[in-house]
């Protein structure tokens, strides 16, 4: 549960996610989706309740500790390190997990290749377009060798079709090959339907529905939430 001085942003949310699942998190604006991610990632502290990850309590930990436990996240507005090159940006999560600089560089180059960003690897990140930034943000997360859960906050917002395709391809591949669990927050319902195994609908800080896209789309309370607000 999370209060913001009078506004209960998240209330009574009980969310269980299976390992290896791609979970979609949707809901009208202001329903608390980003807050959820911030809570899990350690940027906000919960007021009541607990967050467990693999039977371990992680609420109250610093974001960098949570990252070392294998939970990575992206931000709605891409937070890349603007004055560092794309390659340097990539290396950070590997370095913090005690990879050597050489290995980190090699792994970064490999991932950049996969994401079709190799050509930009020595560019300062500030020179990238918005979509490229988002792609960089996302691929960067995979540099954490311990990554098991990835929280993506609006990864498709304002992103070019081609880059969106790369992002989707990457998510699917990482999920299938490495068993990484995903929570994807997005407004793009068709993409979510394509991508996610299960979907939770958040409204006014509470989960009002869970299931596959068909189940959820036909749920009267969901329709009500989106239309009524």
């Amino acid at each position: 549960m999370k209060d913001f001085g009078g506004l209960r942003a998240v209330n009574n949310v009980s969310l269980n996610i299976k390992e290896g699942e791609i979970q979609g998190l949707i809901g009208p604006n202001g329903s608390g989706k980003t807050t959820m991610i911030n809570l899990i990632a350690g940027n906000y502290k919960i007021d009541k309740g607990a967050i467990y990850f693999s039977r371990e309590r992680i609420d109250g930990l610093q974001p960098y500790v949570i990252a070392s436990k294998g939970i990575m996240r992206t931000f709605q507005i891409s937070r890349v390190f603007k004055d560092m090159t794309v390659l340097e940006n990539m290396m950070i999560p590997a370095l913090t997990q005690n990879q050597s600089m050489i290995k980190a560089k090699a792994l970064a180059e490999e991932l950049l290749e996969f994401a079709l960003l190799t050509r930009l690897k020595d560019e300062p990140a500030k020179n990238l377009s918005g979509g490229q930034n988002m792609l960089l943000q996302i691929v960067r997360g995979f540099m954490n060798k311990n990554i098991r859960l990835y929280l993506l906050d609006e990864p498709f917002a304002g992103v070019h079709q081609i880059i969106k395709g790369v992002i989707l391809r990457t998510i699917k591949k990482m999920n299938e090959e490495k068993g990484i669990t995903f929570i994807v927050v997005s407004h793009e319902l068709t993409t979510i339907q394509y991508l996610c195994h299960q979907i939770s609908v958040l409204h006014r800080g509470e989960i009002i529905s869970q299931g596959t896209m068909e189940e959820v789309a036909n749920d009267p309370s969901v329709i009500d939430a989106y239309l009524g607000g």
Binding site: N38, N43, Y44, K82
Partner: protein
């Protein structure tokens, strides 16, 4: 008891400086490290006015003129130096503002030495010495006190009662929000900066006979001004008053009961105490990051 009074007087005198900085900060989130130099410019201009044209009896006219001049100087400076920060030409904002205003302070200080020479000018007294109860008070201090109170009162009236003042309050609370209300934030920035510097300039004009007029006369007010800001909290207007009074009182009591030669340290002692308990000052608010 008399120490309390003299403490209050001194405390109030320094409030103008910190008010200037805090006001500018509230609007633009920028600290003007050169505020003391506007004080100094105010003092110099006032000295010139009094010695050449006005004569000490019309000191208040001088103060008005000075406030006017420093207002425009401040607005001009803001336009060429600070505004670019907000029109997207500068990346690292706080760093830029800090470095540029510090450089400005150095520039003005040395310009003063270059133009006016490293001399101390003594303006003639504004008024003969008076008394408050049993406490003798120099006429200049008295005038400075009254003048400061008047300016503070005017400022608060302006801020709380006029619609422009309310607009400024709005800008300080929500910069992007006011754009939708049709307020030209950039122009307000310029005016706010001008007002902030005008406050300092007026302070310089008022305090000229007390502190005397010389190139570095802006240094002590700057230090006191920032002391007040750290104690009272950045961006907090009531904090300025509370802090200003506290420092003034702390200094006087300390000088009276502990050791007069340690005068400067009492304000800082108070500062250290406050910093340890409340690092953002009494009324300060930390910035939100995520």
């Amino acid at each position: 008891m008399q120490f309390l009074i003299s403490g209050i007087i001194m405390g109030v005198l320094y409030c103008l400086m910190s008010l200037g900085v805090n006001f500018i900060y509230g609007i633009m989130k920028v600290i003007n490290w050169a505020i003391g130099e506007f004080f100094m410019i105010g003092a110099y201009v006032q000295y010139l006015l009094i010695v050449t044209v006005l004569g000490p009896r019309y000191w208040y006219i001088g103060v008005f003129i000075v406030a006017f001049c420093t207002f425009f100087l401040g607005a001009f400076v803001q336009k060429i130096l600070i505004k670019p920060m907000f029109v997207g030409m500068v990346e690292e904002k706080t760093e830029y503002a800090t470095i540029v205003t510090i450089a400005m302070a150095i520039l003005f200080r040395n310009l003063a030495i270059f133009i006016g020479g490293p001399y101390i000018y003594t303006p003639p007294d504004y008024a003969p010495p008076t008394r408050i109860g049993p406490l003798p008070l120099s006429g200049n201090n008295f005038i400075a006190f009254i003048g400061t109170i008047a300016i503070l009162a005017l400022f608060f009236y302006f801020l709380k009662r006029t619609w422009i003042g309310k607009a400024f309050q709005a800008v300080s609370q929500n910069r992007s929000g006011v754009l939708t209300a049709g307020i030209d934030v950039l122009k307000f920035d310029m005016i706010a900066f001008g007002i902030g510097t005008a406050l300092a300039g007026a302070g310089g004009a008022l305090l000229a006979p007390v502190i005397l007029v010389y190139p570095l006369c802006g240094v002590i007010p700057t230090v006191r001004g920032f002391e007040i800001i750290v104690i009272g909290g950045l961006g907090s207007i009531p904090g300025v008053l509370v802090a200003g009074l506290s420092i003034g009182i702390a200094e006087s009591l300390g000088a009276a009961f502990i050791n007069p030669s340690f005068v400067d340290i009492y304000g800082f002692g108070l500062l250290m105490l406050i910093l340890l308990i409340k690092p953002y000052g009494l009324f300060g608010k930390p910035e939100r990051s995520v």
